[in-house]
Symmetry: C2
Subunit: 215 residues, 2 copies
DNA sequence: ACATCTTTGTGACAATTTTCACGACATAAG
DNA sequence: CTTATGTCGTGAAAATTGTCACAAAGATGT
């Protein structure tokens, strides 16, 4: 399952982005695409795109570009788009509710299968077709789920994290400001919206000529 | 205003994070802190922290560490925590509503001053104390505002972006999947939640031993 | 068939970022 | 005063990431 040929992390982070735009091209009926065109669409230098693709071998044809259908098929396999990864969401508050209402499933190999909250008014209801269980049932319900979205209050973050890991979760998308502690082998991506906003303002003031920056 | 001594971008992105944790320490009444302690709290290598701080001169004392109050004061000035930057939010849907309900102002030099939407049912109301105007009033109301949070549907993103820039906005926090095109001098940070989730899953499967990763 | 045009894949290089490791100084204790 | 311990700031090295620029391969047009 896990490749031994190590793709650079920076490349790996761009793959889902490439996938989405290639999929768009396919839907639009385009048959081929050059690294230059793709570059304008995703705002990544064309040389970087060619380099990224080249880690997977020769996907294109010189003088022609890339065949959209072939590329799409390739990325579908590489990103495991066929098997849906079940995801749990913990904390159905402002943010959590927004995510449940959003259809992450479109164009995506992930699906939020269940949500948990401590509020008895929320437990037993559904949002966006996702059932909400009581947090006490976490260990019991989380059997197949390996990935979790964490949108609980700051004070609960570490505690819930430990329960998630005990239940077999190996990946967490953490929206709380807490920098949670996890054992080796558990992957955490922090998305810290306050930091993002402050960081944007800092760059606006101190780097006035630059333009684009991945979050 | 803008420094000529260039702080590395990677460092600049960590500054708001440092600021928040130093502030926490101050609230807890701690008088001093070492790079090692801070490292455990923010999950950044201690050498990296020392290096980051050193771009601003010698903030610490050898054999002692950093004085929390001094550090806090220093970061407050560096991150312009005194002057609040006004921000506008465009698109009061699922995500936009969550952001309006969240108090970004806490511990933060930014404040969402106004919001815009096309839906007449939302126009004229308030969420979290923030007034919602009609999108037609954008140009008229946006006089002081230089930063915007974009949470409109994909199809509207580029169009609204252009109107924002015409109105003087120089920084955009973009939550739509569109990679918007902007002229030089306008800063865009993309936060692409579908990509983040797919990327997490990819890393879980292909880099099973790594642990932590900034979004 | 041939000349011309396109675009890939990549060696070489440049830039950025992280990490190592140690001298220098601070503090505390005896 | 001396020693033991702790911690910074930083030169140097390593690791990672991005970019340039071009030969090679194939596409296109006449
Ligand atoms: N809303 C935003 O725009 C925003 C922005 C930045 C960061 N955040 C962070 O995201 C997190 C969630 O924010 P929010 O605005 O949605 O908060 P919220 O208070 O609206 O939602 C938190 C939810 O978690 C539930 N909860 C509380 N304790 C729980 C527990 N032990 N187990 C399960 N559920 C529990 C609550 O019932 C509530 O529904 C917070 O950590 C916040 O700091 C939110
Ligand atoms: N909700 C999520 O969890 C989520 C996740 C990933 C990405 N996104 C992206 O974030 C964006 C917003 O998502 P959402 O779920 O909040 O969508 P939404 O449909 O709930 O909200 C969009 C809002 O924008 C308003 N709007 C439409 N046209 C407008 C215009 N021309 N000017 C001003 N306002 C206008 C609508 O009235 C609506 O209130 C979308 O681009 C979506 O792809 C959302």
């Amino acid at each position: 399952m896990s490749e031994q040929n190590k793709i650079p992390q920076a490349t790996a982070k761009r793959l889902p982005l490439y996938y989405r735009f290639i999929n768009n091209l396919h839907i639009q009926g385009k048959l081929r695409v050059s690294s230059k065109e793709l570059s304008e669409a995703v705002k990544v230098d064309s040389a970087t795109i060619r380099r990224d693709f080249s880690y997977f071998g020769a996907l294109g044809k010189k003088g022609y570009g890339y065949n959209v259908e072939y590329l799409l098929e390739f990325f579908r396999k590489t990103l495991d788009q066929d098997e849906k990864t079940p995801v749990a969401l913990i904390g159905v508050g402002n943010l959590g509710t927004a995510f449940l209402n959003y259809n992450f499933t479109k164009n995506n190999n992930t699906k939020i299968e269940m949500a948990f909250d401590a509020d008895p008014n929320k437990v037993g209801t559904e949002i966006g077709g996702v059932p909400i269980y009581h947090i006490d049932e976490l260990e019991q319900k989380l059997s197949e789920v390996q990935a979790a979205i964490l949108t609980v209050p700051l004070a609960e973050a570490q505690n819930i994290t430990e329960r998630l890991i005990k239940s077999g979760v190996t990946g967490i998308l953490n929206f709380t400001p807490a920098r949670i502690t996890v054992p080796e082998g558990v992957r955490v991506h922090h998305i810290d919206l306050s930091v993002e906003l402050q960081s944007l303002v800092y760059f606006m003031k101190h780097y006035p000529l630059d333009t684009d920056e991945e979050a």
